[in-house]
């Protein structure tokens, strides 16, 4: 018996949706086995996950608070991915955005709130954009591998923030504990309908990125460049400026996440500000097929998964690690299912084919 993997032709939307749903069910089934092994009723746990993430106004708010950074970061990396520029550096771009925004929050807290928040917003964008331009320049000028550069720059940004937190920016009033002072009220984003206004930024950015990618000339050029550099060149696309612009936007949007998280959620700068969102967003961006409208859905579902598994930890006394394993099982199947939308598995089995032939 032999297995062969064969590339499939484009498949229809219906079939793709079926494969996706199938993967969800497979994930639920396997996690169910795991839960049963822990002597828990899987159905009760799944329902509790939904209740924990959507069961009350408060829980929905918490889910949205998870979804906001995930959604915006996914939009950011999607712009670069559309160009097949592998921006793995969202973590660093978020950190640098948070750093620059925090600089203004800590030093200009006397400014009126709207003005200071606007400055911080722009600073967040600039911080992230700077961290995005560097790999873009390296790639266009010297043909370096952007995956490596963006990945490595995450650690540079992280070490920089760690240095600030443990060194020059350490709060002298924290009795030696390495934390940066809390922002003044004027540097904290206000709430609207129970959730910080980051959600409005997220909605606006979704619409903007949708129009940018689908309706603008530059957005089209990015897509062409992603399909084939030579085609783009032949069509007269300025490769240098397109790559730089895309990475300014990609990094800048991630930088805005840094601003939002520092201002509204953490209310200070910490080395843990990203919460790993820069990597998770790569997954949600792909799950959303790099389309803003689908990314909203993917980010929301992912936030439900995170909030729900956080809830079952205390509701059922499931350990952190088990809850993370549930998240991982879902991811494994959903991402793995993508394989079956592009390839098919052919089993060469002499007995089977003989039976088939004899039946003919």
């Amino acid at each position: 018996m032999q297995f062969r993997i064969v590339k499939k032709a484009e498949i229809g939307k219906k079939k793709r949706a079926l494969i996706f749903l199938g993967s969800i069910f497979a994930a639920l089934f396997v996690s169910g086995l795991f839960l049963a092994f822990l002597k828990l009723n899987p159905f009760q746990v799944y329902i509790a996950m939904l209740q924990g993430s959507l069961g009350s106004a408060y829980r929905i708010e918490q889910t949205i608070i998870y979804a906001i950074p995930l959604l915006i970061t996914s939009l950011g990396v999607a712009i670069a991915f559309k160009m097949k520029f592998w921006n793995i550096g969202a973590e660093g771009q978020i950190l640098m955005g948070a750093f620059l925004a925090s600089y203004f929050a800590l030093n200009y807290s006397h400014l009126p709130r709207p003005l200071l928040l606007l400055i911080m917003f722009l600073a967040g964008f600039v911080g992230g954009a700077l961290w995005g331009i560097i790999p873009a320049l390296f790639k266009t000028k010297w043909g370096t591998n952007e995956t490596i550069i963006t990945l490595m720059m995450n650690y540079v940004a992280l070490k920089w923030v760690v240095y600030l937190q443990y060194g020059p920016w350490k709060d002298p009033n924290a009795s030696g504990f390495p934390r940066i002072a809390n922002f003044a009220e004027s540097a904290v984003l206000p709430e609207l309908m129970g959730v910080h206004v980051g959600w409005i930024i997220a909605v606006l950015l979704t619409i903007l990125v949708y129009f940018f990618l689908n309706k603008s000339k530059k957005g089209f050029e990015i897509a062409v460049l992603g399909e084939s550099v030579n085609t783009a060149r032949y069509a007269g696309v300025n490769i240098f400026s397109t790559v730089v612009l895309a990475m300014v936007l990609s990094g800048g949007i991630c930088g805005i996440v840094g601003f939002i998280e520092a201002s509204a959620v953490e209310q200070t700068l910490t080395k843990d500000i990203t919460g790993g969102v820069g990597f998770t967003a790569i997954i949600t961006a792909w799950l959303g097929a790099l389309k803003p409208q689908w990314i909203v859905l993917a980010s929301t579902l992912f936030a439900i998964l995170i909030q729900g598994s956080s809830y079952i930890q205390s509701a059922f006394g499931v350990s952190t690690y088990s809850a993370q394993l549930l998240e991982a099982i879902v991811l494994f199947f959903v991402l793995g299912s993508d394989f079956f939308t592009r390839y098919k598995l052919i089993i060469d089995c002499p007995i089977l084919s003989r039976i088939k032939e004899s039946g003919k």
């Binding site: 509790a48 209740q51 959507l54 918490q62 443990y166 030696g176 205390s314 509701a315 006394g317």
Partner: protein, 364 residues
Amino acid sequence: MKRVLTILLSITLVLALAVGCSQAPDQGQDQQEKMKIGFVYIGSATDAGYTYAHDQGRLMLEQELGDRVETVIKENVPETQECEKVMTDMIDQGCKVIFANSFGFQEYVKRVAEANPEIIFLHCSGSIQGPNYSNYFGSIEEARYLSGIVAGMKTQTNKIGYVAAYNIPEVIRGINAFTLGVRSVNPEAVVKVMWTNTWFDPAKEKDAAVALLDQGVDIIAQHQDTTGPQVAAEERGCWSIGYNADMSNAAPKAYMTAPLWNWGAYYVEAVKSIMDGTWTNEPYWGTMKDGLIDLAPLTEVAPEGAQEAVTKIQDQMKAGSFDVFAGPLKDQSGQVVVPEGSTVSLEDQLAMKWFVEGVEGKID
């Protein structure tokens, strides 16, 4: 776009149905009025160290108060806004009392406590109080002093390593007490300090211990939450002093003893006082006399005669007649900071920012 909307809507509908049709596990009718208590843990309940000790206290609380309490825990909570969310989630799930077990939670405890005046918050190792929040800790220094006696008698190189988390007063106090214990039996010995800037990171803690062993220390003591440093000592054939729990499983040939917390003693008392309405926001400070602090039984690795030396001082501590920080105390430069006949007040202990003579290391 339309298709996306349809799918979104139908998913929401299905979810809403699922939520509506089911009964939450935490909404089940309780025959009795159970008090729900949340524990926010910095580490894992299975870390065999700090959080493990707290969780043993929680289990003791459940055992002592039985049907009257229900506890929920959340492990590996970072000292960031995440812990604020964890506490708010616990309140959402019906918790009336919340214990938070790490210093860095302080800022967030204060914030959540002020937003939820009807909930009582108890924060371990911090220093601020409000109408509905306070803190609890104790004089682990006493046990550290005793463990210092054991180390001081055992060392052959007269160099002892101390893997320490953050340079905050709590840790500095412990290093000083340990060093005073060491030098009470061995005035030649020095204690070398290595900072890790983490409470909970087995690999990093172990690396710090290895670095100390490379500098010629033959005993490793620790103010860390895991057994990483113990393992390092075991692998080098050296000896070790644990912390928080009996760590002999991790390092059977190295481990001699460990300063212990008996958190259950406090948890039971605190919850009882909240139940009968006698709780006040007075910070709790437990001692060896109160049973909050103890020293783990000495193993066979411990030096001869150590048991007698320890018991002698421990009896005085239990009687309340031994003061670890009684003068004269010299600082690292040899200057007398606490003159004979005086001591370090609890207030000054809680703000301690200097090392005693015999410590090799810097507080930046």
